[in-house]
């Protein structure tokens, strides 16, 4: 059973086209209650009834889009949800498959405690009510990478319900205008991941890799409280940061640890919600936003041209930037849900309800987990703003880039420079260099210590700002050198010799009598020209503020 490679030949091409990704099948059952949709910010519009057909032609602003999300996050755990198999990304195919994962007859599920704890942590972090009793159900469908013919999920009574997620989006033109919004969380449920189907079209084969089969997933269902791609992408980004802070999921979208399905509909405010489509399997925040915005436009276009929206599943083509109907073999598939008979109800306790003498290995105490929750991104940003006087949007940027916050904090630790200066350097210069070369923070050639030393030199005015930039560029290119070494090698230190500088100023003034005249006549820009000339003469090694002082003194004398 170590390497279970399944193959068969001569599959119909149509079939191969039908299953672009086997992983996309999950989460369809958790229907979002259309009637419970909240209409946010539409009350003023909703007062006036609109006549759909005539008025809609006037313009897009009369349409409102409604977006809900179903997010599958792979639980970060050493072993699978119901078996002892290891969980690793990119392990050799079928190398992490237990008898249960391959659904050998007679095998039974045994619930992984770590996965339950991860679900409780996530539920608490998302302000959910944790159900002290939750149940497991079987969801049936035939698919090659679902060996048992059913997925074990939590359909009737999920582990956590009724939560909320606050996220921020920038409003208006300026990035500094950040607005905080909230999306309700309907539920979080524990369920199994499926395996993967790899379609070898030239050979008409489908290969099945069951490494992923049975890995624990958290399905987080967000109510349709969002209205555009950016909102959805921001909400997902915030959820991703929370999961990462909790350590409950690595939530790396590129590795499929976070997969998003979006439910989208449009309607006229004040009227019943429109027919929704589901866009499946969006694997980056950017594509998520694009796909949603495309789908909103498409639906409006269809309706305005008198066509109908079909309740269908669509996929997003990232190259063409559009959504397309998936050939949905499931159609109106009936999943024939049934209670999972091999798993007793999952019971959780709090300190008050903990049975006396209970084996701590056998029970999970919600309060105990609550007390140990790590700091969440919202709190971290709040602290950054308070502690360093940072702008809110800067706190977002620091958290959004993986490792950037840690880099920033390490620089702060080692430098005397002001936090605002550090923020500016990290977010403008350092991040700019990274972006330009498409590097991650941990791939940066400049260490936090080097940047801290550089900022120290700047802080005690040993170098000028422009020299500092030059040093930074040098640091980026020549690994191993310290800022001080570069400064002395390139002779970038500021002139500390006041008399020498005064001599240079004197020479420059003598050489440019016209500019001096302009200045005396009160042209405020003239002094800048002189400063520039002095700096040039000193090879940029003089502090402009000092030059200005000297020039002004000489002119007034």
């Amino acid at each position: 059973m170590a390497a279970l490679m399944l193959r068969w030949s001569c599959l119909g091409k149509r079939w191969v086209l039908a299953c672009i990704d086997g992983g996309s099948r999950h989460g369809r059952g958790a229907a979002i209650g259309l009637t419970s949709r909240r209409k946010r910010g539409q009350s003023s519009v909703a007062q006036q009834p609109l006549i759909a057909v005539q008025k809609s032609r006037k313009g897009e602003h009369e349409w409102a889009a409604v977006v809900g999300l179903e997010i599958h996050a792979q639980i970060s755990s050493n072993s699978k949800l119901f078996s002892g198999s290891q969980v690793h990304f990119a392990a050799p195919p079928n190398s992490l498959v237990s008898f249960f994962d391959a659904s050998l007859p007679g095998t039974l599920p045994v619930l992984n405690r770590r996965c339950v704890e991860a679900a409780v942590m996530t539920g608490l972090a998302l302000n959910c009510r944790i159900n002290k009793k939750s149940l497991f159900d079987r969801k049936h469908y035939f698919y090659a990478d679902l060996p048992a013919g059913y997925q074990i999920t939590q359909q009737r009574l999920p582990i956590a319900v009724n939560g909320s997620l606050a996220y921020s989006v920038s409003v208006g033109k300026k990035p500094s205008q950040v607005s905080t919004r909230t999306v309700r969380i309907k539920q979080i449920q524990l369920e199994q991941d499926s395996g993967k189907s790899l379609h070898d079209e030239p050979r008409s084969q489908t290969l099945i890799d069951l490494n992923r089969a049975g890995v624990g997933l958290l399905e987080v269902v967000l109510e349709p409280d969002m209205s555009c791609g950016e909102e959805a992408a921001s909400a997902v980004r915030e959820l991703q940061l929370i999961l990462q802070a909790l350590g409950t999921s690595q939530a790396n979208m590129a590795e499929g640890q976070l997969r998003v399905d979006a439910n989208i509909s449009v309607h006229h405010p004040g009227e019943p919600l429109g027919v929704r489509t589901e866009v499946k399997n969006l694997n980056s925040a950017r594509f998520l936003a694009k796909a949603i915005d495309f789908e909103i436009k498409r639906q409006i276009h269809e309706l305005e041209n008198g066509r109908k929206i079909l309740n269908e599943t669509r996929s997003f083509d990232d190259k063409l930037g559009c959504t397309m109907p998936m050939r949905d073999k499931e159609g109106k598939q009936d999943y024939r849900f049934m209670p999972e008979p091999n798993l007793p109800p999952l019971l959780l306790y709090d300190t008050a309800s903990l049975p006396p003498g209970a084996d701590p290995q056998q029970v999970i105490n919600i309060d105990w987990i609550r007390e140990r929750l790590p700091e969440l991104p919202g709190k971290t940003r709040e602290k950054l703003i308070q502690q360093y006087g940072m702008l809110p949007e800067h706190s977002f940027t620091l958290l959004n880039e993986v490792g950037l916050l840690e880099f920033f904090q390490n620089v702060i630790k080692e430098t005397r420079a002001e936090p605002k200066k550090v923020t500016s350097w990290v977010l403008n210069i350092f991040l700019g260099f990274l972006k330009q070369q498409n590097l991650a923070v941990n791939e940066s050639p400049v260490t936090p210590s080097a940047l801290a030393e550089l900022l120290n030199l700047l802080d005690r005015k040993a170098i000028s700002s422009s020299a500092a930039r030059q040093v930074f560029e040098e640091l980026w290119q020549s690994k191993g050198k310290t800022p001080s070494q570069i400064v002395s090698e390139k002779k970038l230190e500021l002139m500390q010799d006041q008399e020498a500088l005064e001599r240079v100023c004197h020479t420059v003034m003598e050489g440019h009598p016209q500019v001096v005249m302009d200045m005396k006549r009160g042209n405020p820009r003239a002094i800048n020209k002189l400063i520039g000339l002095v700096r040039k003469a000193t090879l940029s090694r003089a502090d402009p503020t000092v030059i200005k002082e000297i020039l002004e003194r000489k002119l007034s004398s």
């Binding site: 119909g12 050998l104 007859p105 039974l108 035939f142 049934m338 008979p341």
Partner: protein, 527 residues
């Protein structure tokens, strides 16, 4: 030697009167002689001899593993056995060799038991006759007993003897026949609606269904997960208690097993029944019940009463809804459990490869018999969104009412219930197949399936021979997890009735030396 009970032969092994290898060889030779019974699907001769040899070494060193060391046992072919084919008597699993042992199999092996082979059954344990498996029907050893043959000679004229063999009942008919024909000393069956107790009653052996959760289901290929229990078939109640002691307890691989530690199941040699309260459920007096069974049932009640026990009529008011409810729940779980047999990972796969869907369909059509396919279809029907409330949910509610019936009766002070196990004695195969599997199962599970829905322990004990010379069994039902008390009462009853030993000597002349023929004791319940 082969006619002895497990406990007796265990003593003989310990005292060196016989070696495990000798015992194993005797059983193997009897298995070959009784091959026509079709009790075994696979005889694991080589493995058995090797295990016997190892057991022998242990005995020589004085390191015996206990009462089961060196004891030949058989296992129903729906328990996974590592490196031994496990077929469920289905084309779907022909050739399937599990890579692991079911927990109960492992426990038997760990105690030194010698595995003789895998026994026949109805396909995927769906049936009550052991007639609907892909390897053919199991023949009841009593068909060939002196007791039955003599009675037949008096009555039947001109009938073809060979075509009148009897069914074993099912679905664990192979295990029941294997124990009844002395080819092993204990066998594992499975019991979902009566599949251990029903063939036990027809084959004149003890058939014990433990409380749900007392014995691990890990490795048992499921029929209905919420009702399946590994069953034990032996020649006496004491033997069942020994085997139960080896099997019971928590299994980390089965989340539905009890967490509390289990005490050994030792039964007292003499019990006192005068403080007991025996309940006789009035709803079990079914019109189809044969007068002979009814008569033995009331005699048994009288026996308890005469020994000082309180015998009262009780009511299980929802009994009449039980079989329909069982049908809905059973087929629904079957539909779900059978979904994994898709021809991909293991088992049968058809040659069709036009598309995955076509491959699934053909594989399942070829792999499953009509009974299995029929249950899958009805189960899926009951689970459809539009039917779920009306069928599945309703059946679950009725199940709760049925379970509560038992709780109420036991709360009222009843210790055990005494009921028939089957409507009548075993019928000839040709008679049996006049009705379809579904009808038969509905009739034959009538007294047994309610116990499974309530998760209670129950045991069928052979009582006496019918006018035709065939065994009749009665069932005792106990409180959940009071398996020991149940077996204690069953043992007392067994001692009183002195059920006769099957006489197969004519059939197996050259084996006769192996049977220590006991003079038939008086049968106290004889009509």
């Amino acid at each position: 030697m082969l006619g002895r009970t497990l406990r007796e032969v265990s003593t003989a092994l310990k005292q060196g009167h016989i070696t495990p290898t000798e015992l194993c060889q005797k059983c193997l030779s009897l298995i070959k002689k009784t091959k026509f019974l079709n009790a075994y699907i696979t005889v694991s001769e080589e493995v058995a001899l090797k295990q016997a040899e190892e057991s022998e070494k242990r005995y020589k060193k004085g390191h015996s593993l206990g009462d089961l060391d060196g004891i030949p046992v058989a296992v129903k072919d729906n328990f996974s056995t590592s490196s031994i084919e496990t077929t469920c008597a289905s084309n779907m699993l022909k050739g399937y060799v599990p890579p692991y042992n079911a927990t109960v199999v492992q426990k038997l092996l760990d105690k030194g038991a010698v595995l003789m082979g895998k026994t026949n059954l109805d396909e995927f344990a769906m049936g009550s006759g052991s007639t609907d498996g892909v390897f053919g029907p199991v023949k009841n050893p009593w068909s060939y007993s002196k007791q039955y043959r003599e009675k037949r000679k008096q009555k039947a004229h001109g009938e073809n003897e060979d075509s009148n063999w009897l069914i074993t009942g099912g679905s664990s008919g192979g295990s029941a026949a294997a124990v009844a024909a002395f080819t092993c000393f204990a066998a594992l069956g499975s019991d979902t609606g009566g599949s251990t107790r029903n063939p036990a009653a027809h084959c004149g052996v003890v058939g014990f269904k433990p409380s749900y959760g007392l014995v691990s289901r890990h490795g048992l290929i499921p029929l209905v997960n919420s009702m399946d229990v590994p069953g034990i078939l032996t020649r006496c109640v004491d033997d069942a208690a020994i085997v139960l002691g080896m099997l019971a307890g928590h299994d980390p691989k089965d989340s539905t097993t009890i967490q509390d530690p289990v005490k050994p199941f030792t039964l007292p040699t003499s019990a006192d029944v005068n403080k007991l309260c025996i309940g006789i459920p009035k709803e079990y007096l079914a019109p189809e019940l044969s007068s002979e069974v009814r008569s033995f049932w009331s005699k048994a009640a009288n026996l308890f009463e005469s020994e000082g026990a309180k015998v009262i009529e009780v009511s299980l008011p929802h009994t009449s809804y039980s079989i329909v409810c069982y049908h809905v729940l059973c087929t629904s779980e079957v539909a779900s459990n059978m979904a994994r047999f898709d021809g991909l990972e293991y088992g049968h796969r058809c040659d069709i490869n036009v598309s995955t869907e076509a491959m699934y369909a053909a594989t399942r059509r070829e792999g499953f018999n009509d009974v299995v396919r029929g249950r899958i279809l009805s189960g899926n029907f009951f689970l459809l969104k539009e039917n779920y409330e009306n069928y599945f949910i309703k059946a679950q509610k009725v199940r709760r009412l049925i379970a509560n019936d038992f709780v109420n009766v036991f709360n009222s002070g009843v210790d055990v219930l005494l009921t028939p196990t089957t409507l009548s004695e075993a019928v000839p195969y040709l008679e049996f197949i006049k009705e379809d599997n579904r009808t038969r199962s509905a009739q034959d599970d009538i007294f047994t399936q309610a116990v499974n829905m309530a998760g209670l322990p129950a045991v069928s004990v052979p009582v006496a021979l019918s006018n035709q010379g065939l065994p009749i069994g009665l069932q005792f039902i106990g409180r959940a997890f009071c398996d020991q008390q149940l077996l204690k009462i069953a043992k007392w009853f067994e001692k009183q009735v002195q059920f006769p030993v099957i006489q197969l000597q004519e059939l197996m002349d050259d084996c006769s030396s192996d049977f220590e023929i006991e003079k038939l004791s008086s049968v106290s319940l004889k009509q």
